[in-house]
């Protein structure tokens, strides 16, 4: 089963548990130098120059027929970075092996974020994992899409009152398709990927651009829960 409505919270509001009500008096919070540069303040001095400090920008669109052709091509070449954050990740193994064999649909698993364009999050997300998720997501090259598998990634699932599990992954990175279930059967995951293909072909899987546009909102949310930020503000 697939959640059809993609829940993009477009206005950069503070989330429900906002206890500080954001007393940032200066125009830029400490991680923004100006409109286009980030401070990378979490890094130690000797690492500052190893990383780029530019902000991500939304991708420019070409002429619509060309864009349609590109979308068709993108939809048929999905390389998956599967991040087994929780138990749901176990469903990827039947998916890539002979029974469900996703390579017949033009998909294949990849070992590193640099080679993948679909990020599959399998299960609950703890704070420690969220940090890796943000880093991997940002390292992926565009155009990139996110599929969140499992109830835990959608609303916390059975970790709804856990002290260390975030309940809505779409507050931290943009999600294109959700697959519900605890855990979802491989058929459900396949249906999710089919849905993702439809969205891409229709030009509606715009998570990457959304992330660039609402960068401040996403960063604020991430920084609120990741208290020891010791990586670049955007991982190019």
């Amino acid at each position: 089963m697939i959640d059809n409505e993609i829940n993009y919270d477009s206005e950069p509001v503070a989330n429900a548990g906002d206890n500080s009500s954001n007393p940032t008096t200066s125009a830029y919070p400490d991680w923004r130098k100006d409109d286009n540069t980030l401070t990378n303040a979490g890094l130690p001095d000797e690492e500052q120059e190893w990383f780029c400090d530019a902000r991500p920008q939304p991708a420019r669109k070409s002429w619509q027929p060309i864009e349609d052709f590109l979308n068709w091509a993108r939809a048929n070449s999905l390389w998956i970075l599967a991040f087994g954050t929780g138990c749901g990740a176990i469903e990827l193994r039947p998916l890539v092996t002979s029974r469900y064999d996703i390579s017949r649909l033009g998909m294949q698993p990849r070992p590193t974020p640099r080679q993948a364009n679909v990020f599959m999050i399998g299960g609950y997300v703890s704070i420690k994992t969220l940090k890796r998720i943000v880093r991997s997501y940002e390292q992926m090259q565009g155009p990139k899409f996110v599929v969140a598998v499992c109830s835990c990634a959608i609303n916390g699932g059975m970790y709804w009152d856990s002290y260390n599990t975030v309940k809505r992954i779409d507050e931290y990175i943009p999600v294109d398709v959700y697959v519900t279930g605890c855990m979802p059967r491989p058929e459900a995951v396949l249906a999710g990927f089919t849905k993702l293909k439809e969205l891409i072909k229709a030009g509606k899987a715009e998570g990457q651009n959304l992330y660039a546009e609402k960068f401040d909102w996403y960063k604020e949310n991430q920084k609120k829960v990741i208290k020891d930020w010791n990586m670049p503000d955007y991982n190019w």
Binding site: N15, K128, I154, G156, S162, N164, V225, W229
Partner: protein, 174 residues
């Protein structure tokens, strides 16, 4: 097992002996004697395998109960040694010199219960809770739900009867 317990009682102050399944003995030891007791069990009685170190929070009695489980591979028996320590001043002797893996358990106990083991390597580095700022989360007076509500936001739930929903979805004309 009883004989072993009686022998050990001559040397150490033990009480609350209990035997289960014939091979699983448990008793309470004194805090100061624990390291020498475990050394004794390991080197003389063949309990060479540290199975785990864990903790129980007796909030009402203001005590932490540390539980050490050791295993003997020759007769497949286990000994569970319990130690009660003060909850307000949680400090315990480290056993990482007896078993290398002891430091992992101790690091976890330090993180989850705030018990300190002076001298245990790496115990101040975060293990699971990176950047954690609240109180140790496994203590019973830590309110998980409250912490969760203050820090992570909810998604509204929208529940449907599965049978009806699928019926409507699959056969919309009926």
């Amino acid at each position: 097992m009883e004989q072993l317990y009686n022998n050990l009682s001559l040397q150490f102050e033990l009480n609350d002996f209990m035997l289960r399944h014939g091979t699983q003995a448990s008793f309470i030891a004194k805090r100061e004697q624990l390291v020498s007791l475990l050394t004794n069990l390991r080197d003389i009685h063949g309990y060479t395998h540290l199975v785990m170190v864990t903790c129980v929070d007796w909030l009402e009695d203001k005590l932490f109960q540390l539980t050490y489980i050791v295993h003997n591979h020759h007769d497949q028996s286990d000994i569970i040694v319990k130690v009660l320590i003060d909850r307000d001043m949680p400090e315990m002797d480290s056993i990482h010199h007896l078993w290398e893996q002891g430091r992992v358990f101790q690091r976890e106990l330090h993180e989850m219960f705030g018990i300190s083991f002076p001298g245990s390597p790496g115990q101040d580095e975060p293990m699971i809770l990176e950047g954690w700022q609240g109180p140790p989360p496994m203590r019973r007076d830590f309110d998980t739900k409250e912490y969760c509500e203050a820090n992570y936001s909810n998604r509204e739930r929208d529940s449907r009867e599965p049978e009806e929903h699928m019926q409507r979805k699959l056969y919309p004309e009926d």
